[in-house]
């Protein structure tokens, strides 16, 4: 038998969230956590969670599994069980709508802020904008993000300033377009991130890298953005000092 502790909150009936324990027979096969939740939902149809693709592509079922954010659909129960117990809680730091479903408005607002689309004002060529293999290689490890919010919601800096700190997920995407050879708005993108909060609230605690279900490294992208901002400032200072002399 295994105990599954689930964070429960229904705004219509509950004043405060509480933990409900479900005891069930351990499945013979090493099924994914999402399957386990589906079994539980047959017992208690009031349990709410998001899910869609059930194979780690859509990023809907991000949740806090035994204290670590991850996708329920690609986490086998053998990996999640500790002392015959599994604790499922919503993604930390975002307002809970119901049970394991969180309000991702703040997360998407930050994503919107970094203008997640290619910007190029030059005349488009007849077929497509070409890239060399080396230029394309720079996007590896950046474009694969599925926006599940596991990283941003495990980041203490994002918990403190969800409105001002862009967060690891959106910063990874910001760097995805900064690093893209076809994008011509690099300077404007960097300018938009140069305030004290957007990037610099990251103190490299690495929880984003620790939890990413796609094994991406937002911390590396943030480091690259910081370096580019710094070299931009250096250039500005040289121009200013040249002007004075």
């Amino acid at each position: 038998m295994i105990d599954v502790n689930i964070y429960r909150y229904n705004p219509e009936t509950d004043k405060f969230p509480y933990t409900q324990t479900y005891t069930l027979k351990k499945p013979e096969k090493d099924i994914m956590l999402l399957e386990l939740l589906n079994i539980l939902k047959e017992q208690d149809s009031s349990i709410s969670y998001r899910r869609s693709c059930r194979e780690g592509v859509c990023g809907s079922d991000g949740m806090n599994i035994n204290g670590k954010n991850g996708l329920a659909c690609i986490t086998p129960i053998s990996q999640a069980i500790k002392n015959n117990k599994i604790e499922l809680r919503p993604l930390p730091g975002l307002p809970v709508i119901r049970d394991l479903v969180v309000d991702m408005t703040e997360f998407y607002a930050q994503y919107d802020k970094i203008k997640p689309f290619l910007q190029n004002e030059t005349e488009p060529p007849a077929q497509e904008r070409l890239q060399s293999p080396a230029e394309r290689d720079k996007l590896d490890g950046l474009y694969e993000c599925i926006l599940c919010a596991c990283c941003s919601t495990s980041c203490p800096s994002f918990w403190w300033n969800p409105d001002k700190f862009v967060g690891p997920a959106a910063l990874l995407q910001a760097y995805r377009f900064i690093a893209d050879s076809r994008d011509t708005k690099t300077a404007e993108r960097l300018e938009g991130l140069s305030d004290p909060f957007s990037v610099y609230r990251c103190h490299g605690i690495m929880n984003c890298v620790n939890v990413c279900p796609k094994d991406l490294n937002p911390n590396h992208a943030i480091g690259e953005i910081k370096s580019m901002l710094l070299s931009d400032k250096k250039k500005e200072n040289i121009i200013v000092s040249d002007g004075v002399s």
Binding site: R89, G93, S154, M206, N207, N210, G223
Partner: protein, 126 residues
């Protein structure tokens, strides 16, 4: 509209070693600003005030285990902050790679260095 609950339970959420190092670095930074620096400035003021006050403070320091422990804790906080801070700067300069492994290993090394220096300080002062 009622306020929605937000789940943040630091006792339940798993944080890597590098996170604990970073958070404690900030906490010690606050302690240094509000406690360590004022205390050391005050002690320096006593020591430099007059030869008599210098002797009275060193006498008190030699006899009171409480005072010695208090000063020792202040020194340890400062040492911890400096060591964790150097690691942070090395990461900022990309001298430590931004992988989870490198980050956790450098955090372990920083803690070991702190314990060695702390031990030497304790042996030297007590």
């Amino acid at each position: 509209m009622s306020l929605k609950p937000v789940y943040i339970n630091l006792f339940k959420i798993q944080l890597p070693l590098s996170a604990l190092l970073s958070i404690s670095h900030r906490v010690t930074g606050i302690l240094i600003f509000f406690i360590v620096l004022p205390v050391f400035a005050y002690i320096l003021n006593i020591l430099l005030d007059s030869p008599a006050s210098f002797i009275s403070f060193t006498d008190a320091y030699n006899t009171s285990i409480f005072l010695r422990t208090f000063v020792l804790f202040n020194i340890l906080i400062f040492q911890y902050h400096v060591i964790a801070g150097i690691r942070h700067m090395l990461m900022d300069f990309h001298l430590i790679s931004e992988s989870l492994y490198a980050s956790n290993t450098s955090a372990k090394i920083a803690i070991i260095i702190f314990f060695v220096i702390a031990l030497l300080t304790i042996l030297g002062l007590i």
